[in-house]
Amino acid sequence: MSEALIRVENIHKSFGHLEVLKGINFEVHKGDVVCLIGSSGSGKSTMLRCINLFEQPEKGAIYVNDENVLESQDVNYYRSKVGMVFQAFNLFNNMSVLKNCVIAQKKVLKRKEKEAEEQALYFLDKVGMRDFAYASSSTLSGGQQQRVAIARALCIEPEIILFDEPTSALDPEMVGDVLEVMKRLASEGLTMIVVTHEMQFAKDVATKVIFMDKGVIEEEGSPEDIFTHPKKPRTQEFLRKFI
């Protein structure tokens, strides 16, 4: 088995007295699509935010390419290697679609305007949003905004992209568009960790599914293991609600 891209070891995280993560361990390899599933409040999003250092865990380590990022000195550099797509899209409201994709390339990767624009247009094309490059980001529909957000994350060429419930804020018709884009990226070998409630997506696309409950990993395995032969009663109970 190849070297793990991300290795999460014994992560503990509390908010005040509430312990949200109680010792999480898992690995992500290059090219993996890891889906984190579980009910709300089980700690999935918090786990994801720990990987991006938006939350500082009290205990544990997160190794990326064998380097503990919790002790990392250059947080900004590290974050540029780990893209993130949010539930609420979070496109920059004061910029056009193109500028949204260009700004970080210029500020972080120090690319020239022209090069950054070409890169941005390439990825906007990939998510099917090239025609909207000069539109104001606030005029787009939710599904369109989320696709731009994916392109924006891709533009800085991260090694992995974290998706935090990317389709939860979308209406059902638009969910398909976004999932389609994500599927295509997965098939092209992009490493992803996806927090999602889209069980069908997890079933079809994931290389590994992790079921979290009350701050611990209850069960993990291939989609088949989890969806067709779940072992733990809690997993079975959770999945029954989706069938």
Binding site: N76, Y77, S80, A88, N90, N93, V108, S138, T139, R152
Partner: protein, 267 residues
């Protein structure tokens, strides 16, 4: 009181003393404009830096420096918002008269600038708070530093959100610069007092002054509202605010967005 003779005297004063009135208007506008611009610059600097949150990973030295800076900024803001500008004007003018040897007009501009700076800091801080945290997280997730995030993503949106309040500050300065006539800054109020003193038509003179002030503030309000409308047109889906005073635009989508309601000052 408001009989024909009253208005005739008013018109008389306005035409006879229009030169000094216009001189006053010029000083008033200059002082208000300069004060607002310098105040805004101060506000951006102080409000912006005060709102920067240091990373958890930041060194303890920079955390201490930030803390001291925050205290100093707070003291400045509270002092200038908590005392009347009239008192500030008189005190600062005489206190620093021997240091700078300045004219009342320069001193007045100085006072109105730092006074406005205190209010602007709070307006900008409010504007920054009205920007969704998601914007910050998105920028940081792309690897942008807190400074880069502040200046390319947050402040442009904060200024836009706070624009009505910023414009309002200018209108307020047009009126409130009148208190600086106490240090004989030669603004409209000062000129009116002189006219009143030499004609003995006190009511009429101040009535004329009031009319001129009203024309000035109304014109500015209209211009500001126009600018605001045009700003909104650029980003089509942002709902428009109804007035320039205390109202705020709420940016699209995010329901969590707070309003920016800076405390209005009473002189």
């Amino acid at each position: 009181m408001f009989n024909q003779k009253f208005f005739a005297t008013c018109i008389d004063i306005a035409s006879k003393y229009h030169a000094s009135l216009l001189l006053g208007v010029r000083v008033t506008i200059m002082v208000a404009l300069t004060g607002t611009i310098i105040g805004l610059a101060l506000g951006l600097l102080i409000g912006g830096t005060r709102a920067i949150k240091l990373d958890i990973q930041a060194s303890s030295t920079s955390k201490t420096i930030k803390k001291i800076y925050d205290v100093i900024a707070t003291v400045y803001i509270e002092i200038f918002r908590g005392t009347p500008m009239m008192v500030q004007g008189a005190f600062i003018y005489y206190a620093l008269l021997h240091v700078f040897n300045w004219t009342p007009n320069v001193a007045g501009t100085f006072v109105i600038s730092i006074n406005t700076g205190a209010y602007m800091s709070e307006i900008i801080r409010g504007g920054i708070q009205s920007v969704d945290v998601g914007q910050v997280e998105a920028a940081r997730s792309l690897g942008m530093s807190s400074m880069q995030t502040m200046f390319t993503v947050i402040l442009p949106q904060a200024i836009k959100n706070a624009f009505p309040a910023i414009g309002n500050e200018f209108v307020v300065n047009i009126k409130d610069s009148s208190v600086l006539s106490i240090i004989s800054m030669t603004d409209l109020m000062y000129q009116s007092s002189r006219i009143a003193g030499s004609t003995y038509h006190f009511t009429e003179s101040y009535f004329v002054a009031a009319c001129v002030y009203l024309v000035l503030t109304l014109t500015c309000s209209i211009i500001l509202r126009h600018i605001e409308k045009r700003m909104n047109k650029v980003a089509t889906s942002i709902p428009q605010s109804d007035t320039t005073t205390e109202s705020q635009k709420i940016a699209p989508k995010s329901e969590k967005k707070q309003r920016v309601l800076p405390k209005r000052r009473k002189k």
